[in-house]
């Protein structure tokens, strides 16, 4: 296998669109936190993005085949880090999700576990050379994602745990799942729902009920959904230049989970559509890269990234417009947060690497 790869094969178009989204994110973070105690975090976000870009270049230089060969070790380390969160993690807002790193930073291991899962799933399905999946394949692939899924659920962080599922779903779908298998799984999932409800924490139930009836308790759990819809709706077509919902603190967490609501208030339907379009271009560009990948493994890696990104966008913007319950899932590339930014750029690094190998054989 040749190592003759070149930066010329980098997807500069993709990076350009990604950076436009990041820039809009930084501007909105600045605007949303202007007069709050978070003022100035947009500079930190820029450092994260810069760090992410460096990380992306470094990862893009690592041959993804080499990564795939070591994926079982990475998987073990991933499980170990999740275990360490459960044991040593910092309890914040009732959940252990963070590990304190030396130097005062907090790290959320469940983010980088996503990268490992993308690789692990890619490895598993690329090793299967047959088109039709057996039930045992199905269960094994499910277990690869299922074990960390349950561990993250235990933190408890249902939102992040759910972001693991699309990796498995896309893997199975592209790996050749049969319709009958899919139907059985959907049916089983439907039957498991009431059971899951039974095991949910109160605040999780509350979020779900408040999603269904947000006006029932407007300043309790439904408050976030209601305020988000008000912020988005009051933006109108062209945006409200006062941005009052965000500025006066009615919109909760306007620089992290609800950044899209803050952006939509300020820039209106036109602005929101523009951002949606940017994300759509990025996703289409990624799927194109998946199609041109040199092998099955490459395609699976890129589509894993696509799955995670799409899921994040669906759940986050869906939450902002009131279609989805509040789950605490950030909007990739825009929301403030180091773990999220690093994950996206490292994932893009893997995509770059796959792309750079497309003419290599």
């Amino acid at each position: 296998m040749s190592r003759n790869i070149s930066l010329r094969d980098f997807d500069w178009t993709l990076i350009a669109f990604v950076l436009i989204i990041c820039t809009l994110g930084v501007i909105e973070i600045r605007s949303a936190t202007l007069h709050t105690k978070f003022a100035g975090v947009h500079v930190k976000q820029m450092y994260w993005i810069a760090g992410g870009l460096i990380g992306m270049f470094v990862v893009s230089l690592l041959n993804y085949h080499a990564l795939l060969e070591r994926v079982h070790w990475m998987y073990i380390v991933a499980l170990a880090s999740l275990m360490s969160v459960l044991i040593f993690g910092q309890k914040y807002l009732g959940a252990r999700r963070w590990v304190k790193l030396p130097g005062g930073n907090h790290f959320q291991p469940s983010e980088w576990v996503k990268l490992v899962l993308i690789l692990a799933v890619a490895k598993y399905f690329s090793d299967l050379q047959h088109r039709e999946l057996t039930w045992s394949d199905f269960i094994k692939a499910g277990a690869i994602v299922g074990v960390p899924f349950i561990m993250v659920m235990g933190q408890p962080d249902l939102g992040t745990a759910l972001t693991y599922l699309p990796i498995a779903v896309v893997g199975l779908f592209l790996g050749g799942v049969r319709w009958k298998q899919a139907a059985v799984v959907v049916l089983l999932a439907g039957l498991a729902m009431p059971l899951a409800w039974h095991h949910m924490k109160d605040y999780q139930k509350q979020r779900l009920t408040s999603f269904i009836a947000p006006d029932a308790d407007p300043r309790g759990a439904g408050y976030h959904v209601k305020q988000s819809k008000i912020a988005v709706g009051s933006g109108g077509i062209w945006g409200s230049n006062s941005g009052s919902q965000t500025r006066q603190g009615f919109l909760p967490e306007p620089h992290t989970d609800f950044i899209f609501a803050a952006f939509s208030e300020e820039h209106g339907f036109v602005g929101a559509m523009a951002v949606l379009l940017l994300y759509f271009i990025v996703l289409m560009r990624l799927t194109q890269n998946a199609q041109t990948a040199p092998d099955r493994a490459g395609t699976f890696i890129v589509m894993g990234v696509v799955a995670v990104l799409t899921f994040h966008i669906l759940v986050n913007i869906g939450m902002v417009v009131g279609f989805m319950p509040v789950t605490g899932i950030p909007l990739p590339l825009m929301s403030y947060g180091g773990s999220s930014v690093l994950f996206m750029f490292l994932a893009l690094g893997m995509v770059m690497n796959v792309r750079m190998h497309r003419f290599v054989n």
């Binding site: 690329s126 896309v170 779908f173 709706g233 006066q248 939509s264 949606l276 996703l283 799927t287 092998d295």
Partner: protein, 658 residues
């Protein structure tokens, strides 16, 4: 290992792209809905989010005595509260907060924990009625403790220890029932309205009109910038009572903690100068919110502390009724010539009626019958008059009917007659019943205010005034059911008759009378004692002379004996004999006369420690002219720094200074 293996199904990859497109269309649809279709709705909601109507509370009017001295005032009361939707670690700040507000840190933490399940926007009420020091602490820590805030309300400041409590009444949050009553339609839930006494009767005058302010607020409810619109509050009007605080103090001191009531009235005008009912309650307990236990204690107390006995106690008037009998007898030309030999009792309709003096009074005419309170004379008179003639005069003088006093829930009392008995009991009146009525027993039941009005009329050539506690000038027309001035009636009474009767009454306090021990040298007091049985003497004996069944002592007296300046009625429940009631009443009369004669009535003591005063006290303080003895009511101090503190001086017996 990773050779050019089998490519993935391009159909499925394309399918993924379509799924992504579908998701984006769905999100775009969501945005369209919010930002285009329902944009107006959400813009309005955003406006509503930011703009809030904040009421500006109007202070209630002060209640003043008839010289304009304050009795009830307001004070600005601040409540410290904890805003929980600020992103602060409240438990970490609990120690500092507790220290600054003089609370127990454990209590603060407990409160935070207890409230944690409630919606965030509900603040925790940490401490009501905070002191200036605590307010200063909150102001000084605005940045360190942004979650601490205060809200202001005007609270009623009543005299301490139930001074004048029944007359003043108290305020409270308007109840659901009240909102449905006529006259209260304009109030909204949460309004503080008068609930009893003058506070209720004159609520419309005392209550101001709340203003409001439209303000822009942030998500913590804090105001941002200038108000958009401001409608100032209209303060309630002050209400001048007819009460003279000096006389009120004398009455309160006279009755002490005995059960009963005292009324002092100007017989010319009907102005009530003092009104006391015992036992009393502290209306300050109602000013914030009365504790359930305290309330239960008040309503279950057999002595009924919430009852204003001066207008609500309906009791047999006993021998005081003999003044009405004497007047009726004179007007009917029976009493003038009636002479009775009293040997300690007499027989009527086959039953023996005893005189209270077992040995008898001997030969008795009208004058002696009054000052010696001879029962046999009045039995005989009652027998000659018959119930309907007695009822006619008693009713003319207002017994068994409301006097129209400007206080809520005045009781009616009972003046029996043949018709009354037929109506209420469907029975014929027995002539024997008339005999008991002759000495104010039997079915007769009067309120102290009825009695004072009736007897004052007899001493005033038949002038029937309308007793009232507030100065009616400045009141809106038809505010009161009865007009204080135009509804004054004149009952024709023969001049010789009422002169003889009042002359006889003036001997009641002389050695030959029934209450010589109440005599006050140098003051011409005329009056009549009464001792009314609660139950018959026989029943009482059965209950081993149980104290609850002790006789009620009455006294109605006035000075001077004709066209008096002041009339006083004393009811001493369980006082056994009218002479004890007479002692209470004459103290008030003495205070009145002393004041007229500009004699110092009381020794004013300065408190030893000088500074700190409980709120709600009555005390004297030096005014601008340096007059140290001027009494002021209702001003308050809460250990303020020295610079503005007037020297607080206690009014004796009210115990407000500490």
């Amino acid at each position: 290992m990773f050779g050019r293996d089998e490519k993935l199904s391009p159909v499925r990859l394309t399918a993924v792209q379509y799924v992504i497109l579908a998701i984006f269309l769905l999100l775009a649809y969501g945005l369209w809905q919010l930002q285009v279709s329902q944009s107006d709705y959400y813009s309005a909601a955003a406006e509503e989010n930011r703009v809030r109507n904040v009421p500006i509370l109007a202070p209630r009017g002060k209640i003043l005595d008839h010289n304009g001295r304050p009795i009830v005032e307001n004070y600005r009361s601040l409540t410290a509260l904890l805003l929980r939707d600020s992103s602060r670690d409240l438990k970490a700040d609990a120690d500092l907060i507790a220290q600054g507000l003089n609370l127990d840190p454990k209590e603060v933490r407990d409160k935070i924990r207890r409230f944690s399940s409630l919606p965030q926007y509900q603040p925790i009420y940490l401490k009501e009625d905070i002191t200036p020091d605590e307010e200063a602490f909150i102001e000084a820590h605005r940045t360190e403790l942004p979650e601490l805030d205060t809200i202001m309300a005007y609270r009623r400041l009543y005299p301490l220890k139930g001074f004048m409590a029944h007359l003043i009444g108290y305020v409270g949050e308007v109840s659901e029932d009240m909102l449905n009553q006529p006259g209260f339609e304009l109030y909204t839930p949460g309004d503080v309205v008068g609930k009893s006494g003058v506070e209720l009767q004159y609520n419309q005058i005392l209550m101001g009109k709340n203003g409001s302010r439209r303000v822009v607020v942030d998500s913590h409810g804090r105001e941002v910038g200038k108000p958009l619109e401001e409608k100032p509050a209209e303060a309630g009007k002050d209400l001048k009572l007819t009460i003279d605080i000096d006389l009120q103090i004398a009455a309160e001191e006279a009755i002490g903690d005995k059960n009963g009531a005292l009324i002092a009235m100007d017989p010319h005008t009907g102005e009530i100068l003092a009104m006391v009912s015992r036992p009393t309650f502290d209306p300050n307990d109602f000013a914030i919110r009365i504790k359930r236990g305290d309330w239960n204690k008040l309503v279950t107390d057999p002595d009924k502390p919430l009852l204003n006995k001066a207008i609500q106690a309906q009791l047999a008037p006993g021998s005081t009724f003999k003044i009405l009998m004497a007047t009726a007898g004179w007007q009917e030309n029976i009493a003038q010539t009636l002479n009775v030999h009293c040997n300690g009792g007499a027989e009527f309709f086959g039953r023996r009626f005893g005189c209270w003096v077992k040995s008898g009074h001997g030969e008795v005419d009208l004058t002696k019958a009054i000052y010696q309170s001879c029962d046999v004379f009045f039995y005989t008179l009652a027998n000659k008059l018959g119930i309907d003639r007695i009822a006619k005069y008693a009713t003319t003088f207002g017994l068994g009917q409301k006097t129209g006093i400007d206080l809520p829930q005045e009781a009616t009392g009972v003046m029996p007659s043949e018709e009354w008995k037929l109506r209420n009991f469907r029975q014929k009146w027995f002539a024997g019943e008339t005999i008991s009525v002759g000495i104010g027993q039997g079915a007769v039941a009067v309120t102290p205010v009825q009695l004072i009005r009736a007897i004052s009329a007899i001493s005033m050539d038949g002038r029937m005034v309308v007793p009232h506690v507030a100065d009616p000038t400045g009141l809106p027309p038809n505010y009161l059911e009865v007009n204080h001035y135009t509804d004054v009636k004149s009952v024709p009474v023969d001049e010789n008759g009422w002169n003889l009767i009042t002359d006889a009454m003036s001997r009641v306090l002389l050695p030959e009378g029934t209450a010589p021990s109440a005599h006050i040298p140098g003051i011409d007091i005329a009056g009549k004692t009464g001792s009314a049985q609660v139950v018959s003497l026989a029943t009482r004996a059965k209950h081993q002379n149980n104290e609850d069944l002790a006789q009620n002592g009455w006294f109605v007296g006035f000075t001077p004996r004709r066209s008096p300046d002041v009339v006083v009625c004393a009811l001493f429940q369980g006082g056994e004999h009218g002479k004890l009631a007479a002692r209470l009443a004459t103290q008030v009369i003495k205070a009145y006369v002393d004041k007229q004669r500009r004699q110092p009535t009381k020794v004013v003591e300065k408190p030893a420690n000088g500074g700190k005063t409980e709120i709600g006290a009555l005390w004297t303080s030096p005014d601008e002219q340096g007059d140290n003895d001027k009494l002021q009511g209702g001003r308050f101090l809460i250990g303020r720094p020295k610079r503005s503190a007037p020297l607080a001086v206690a009014a004796p017996g009210l115990g407000g200074v500490n």
